[in-house]
């Protein structure tokens, strides 16, 4: 049954009807049902080449196979630096640089299967290092450059990183102090700009490193099931989770590039995601290159006027961005986008958190194209549910499953199995039928945690959603306490642990507080140790401590002091109750509540 509220939502936002025959370029997916019915992963494999000696390697499909044919001199990467400087790399050049990097890894005794961590902004070396490492069959793990030392140390330790590629700046600010805690790290490569100042001990410059590589390097035989990427994500409890992806994932990258992003040979593609996020890898690097298009890379962070200029001047045709950026552009108003020529923009998509209907419509108003929301997560490796170029958009819906993907709403039963919910618009957990190529193959070192993600043939996503009578999915919320802020998943435990390292903090609980721009921001509730008194000065001290440890993206934006935190009888902090109270929502079932919070006199 559709509730009254949902009806209102559905009806107040008119469906955006598509007329595919009027689109300037014929979309790859024209008939949704027919394409789905005819699809098989085996047949889709024809879009890939495969290694000459057999096997499948992401880097080979992304660059090396294009390096000698018609695409050799085509621009693979068009990079625009923060200062406006430009650099272009053809497919032949990018392939050669990646092979040199791979060869240099071997020259430095880095072997197959070893982990290469990347802590870099959007610089050309990021692409070379990622593709080079994959060519050498090393496992790549990208990190957010906005991470503080603690999240960096945790991840490199968990992944037993052998190599780290970063900049002198980031090394000095984020890594140097924790280097001693990272015994696995043998090689730290610094991407230097301008003149080289004194290099910190235990590091090597990019050019010095590369000089030991040779131009010729043969990608070794790669089993499609060989580990390729390690993407860290966050859960409610415990350490971050290292989602493991294999080279076979490139087939999903190819298929989703085709159907969800509708990439065509002549496209100029721009993905604005941070390379430290899975989107920045799957769609900022791999998918566009696999399709042989020109991949635009903009180093600078969000700035609406700059982005409008880039869309116009670089003649971007396909654009993949995120709700936080879209909402910031909305604040500026569609007026600010007037006067620019966006006529080349053919398709725009959004991912990271659900895009509100206003955001979808803003695309229509400002750019003449609606934003096409899609859904996926670190574990899925690629886009799973999407609004397509040729199919109608229902603003606020994430769309329908890609060809080759079966999605359902399920309910967990007491016996551990799941039941598929067939009635339309009934809330349940979003689940995917397992077996697509980019499905994660495990959480690093945590078999049990991986096993718990599945029930029978279904992968349980942890997202709550609904499906309407036409098969469109609608996001409802998270089934756990993970916080989604500006597209980043933040695990409350990691933040709470860092807060509790502060000498004044006895206990901490962290929630996601709804925010009109970022979706959610991290808010912390802190109980002080005896002898400490709540004050603005102490609040700032705790905040500064958290920011230094965690970095600005993960650290709380707000801190409130409390005399106690609500706990269950088993001692677990009830973050949900804190959140309900913060939002003035019903408190729900309190039968398990053992001890309750008391706001301190000083706090609001």
């Amino acid at each position: 049954m559709t509730s009254l509220r949902e009806r209102t939502v559905l009806e107040s936002w008119p469906r955006i009807r598509k007329r595919p025959e009027e689109l300037p370029v014929r979309p790859h997916l024209l008939d949704y049902e027919a394409t789905r019915a005819a699809f098989s992963w085996e047949a889709a494999r024809a879009g890939l080449t495969g290694l000459p000696g057999g096997g499948l390697n992401i880097a080979f499909e992304a660059v090396h196979r294009h390096a000698h044919g018609a695409r050799a001199s085509k621009t693979a990467l068009r990079w625009i630096g923060k200062d406006g400087s430009r650099r272009e790399l053809s497919y032949a050049e990018l392939s050669a640089e990646a092979l040199r990097f791979a060869s240099a890894l071997r020259a430095h005794a880095v072997t197959e299967g070893e982990r290469v961590f990347l802590l870099l902004g959007r610089v050309p070396e990021l692409y070379v290092a990622m593709l080079g490492s994959l060519s050498a069959k090393c496992v790549v793990s990208p990190l957010f450059s906005a991470f503080g030392p603690e999240p960096i140390a945790t991840r490199i330790r968990m992944g037993e990183g052998a190599v780290l590629v970063t900049t002198p700046e980031l090394y000095r600010r984020r890594v140097e102090a924790i280097r001693a805690q990272l015994p696995s790290l043998r090689l730290v490569i610094l991407v230097e700009r301008g003149e080289t100042r004194e290099r910190p001990p235990g590091t090597i410059g990019w050019s010095e490193f590369s000089a030991r590589g040779e131009g010729a390097f043969a990608v070794p035989p790669t089993d499609p099931e060989d580990l390729a990427l390690l993407h860290f994500t966050s859960g409610t409890t415990g350490r971050p989770k290292g989602a493991m992806h294999v080279h076979a994932a490139v087939l999903t990258h190819y298929v989703t590039g085709l159907y969800a992003l509708d990439l065509h040979e002549e496209d100029i593609f721009w993905c604005t995601a941070d390379p430290g996020w899975v989107t920045g890898t799957s769609y900022g690097v791999i998918a566009p290159l696999v399709h042989g298009v020109t991949n635009l890379v903009v180093e600078a962070e969000f700035d609406a006027q700059l982005w409008y200029r880039i869309l116009q001047d670089e003649k971007v045709t396909v654009w993949y961005t995120a709700p936080t950026a879209i909402r910031m552009m909305m604040k500026l108003g569609a007026e600010a986008a007037k006067g620019y020529d966006f006529s080349r923009l053919r398709f725009s998509a959004s991912v990271g958190e659900p895009l509100n209907p206003e955001g979808v419509m803003f695309g229509l108003e400002a750019f003449g194209r609606p934003f096409h929301d899609n859904w996926w997560q670190t574990e899925t490796g690629g886009i799973m549910i999407a609004n397509f170029a040729a199919t109608d958009v229902k603003p606020g819906s994430m769309g329908r499953p890609l060809p080759g993907i079966e999605a359902a709403i399920v309910r967990r039963e007491a016996d551990g199995t799941v039941r598929v919910v067939d009635e339309p618009m009934v809330e349940g957990e979003l689940a995917l039928k397992k077996g697509w190529p980019s499905m994660f193959r495990g959480y690093l070192g945590e078999e049990e945690r991986y096993r718990k993600c599945f029930a029978g043939d279904w992968y349980l996503t942890g997202d709550l959603a609904k499906k309407d009578e036409e098969g469109y999915f609608w996001f409802v919320g998270r089934a756990d306490d993970v916080i989604k802020s500006a597209g980043h998943l933040i695990g409350p435990f990691e933040v709470e642990s860092a807060l509790m390292e502060h000498p004044a903090v006895a206990e901490a609980a962290v929630i996601g507080k709804p925010d009109p721009i970022a979706g959610e921001v991290v808010k912390a509730f802190v109980v002080l140790r005896p002898g400490f008194r709540a004050s603005e000065e102490l609040r700032r001290d705790v905040l500064g401590h958290a920011r230094k440890r965690l970095g600005p993206v993960v650290a709380p934006k707000e801190i409130d002091f409390r005399d106690g935190l609500p706990r269950t009888r088993s001692g677990k902090i009830m973050r949900r109750l804190l959140k309900a109270r913060e939002l003035g929502l019903p408190e729900g079932d309190l039968s398990t509540l053992e001890s309750d919070e008391r706001p301190t006199g000083a706090a609001p």
């Binding site: 006027q305 936080t324 910031m328």
Partner: protein, 80 residues
């Protein structure tokens, strides 16, 4: 308001957002978002703080002018 006074206001606002940030040590032409580790939310909060403290309107089209210390102080000096 003098430049020194304006700088003091910025430092005070930043202390509530990013207490660990050392605005005084910043070079005039450095991007303060990078150098002080401010994400887009932090920067937005800084702008809101300036609006509240100084009563000036800062249209979003002007944000890029505030990305460096010199740019920020020049902008405030002209407006406040």
């Amino acid at each position: 308001m003098s430049r020194e006074e304006l700088e003091r206001v910025v430092v005070e606002i930043l202390a509530g957002i990013a207490p660990e940030a050392d605005f005084a040590a910043l070079a005039g032409n450095e991007d303060l978002r990078d150098a002080l580790d401010l994400d887009s939310m932090d920067f937005l909060n800084l702008v809101i703080g300036l609006h509240e403290r100084l009563g000036i309107d800062i249209p979003e089209a002007d944000y890029p002018k505030l990305f460096t210390k010199d740019g920020l102080l020049d902008y405030l000096a002209a407006k406040a």
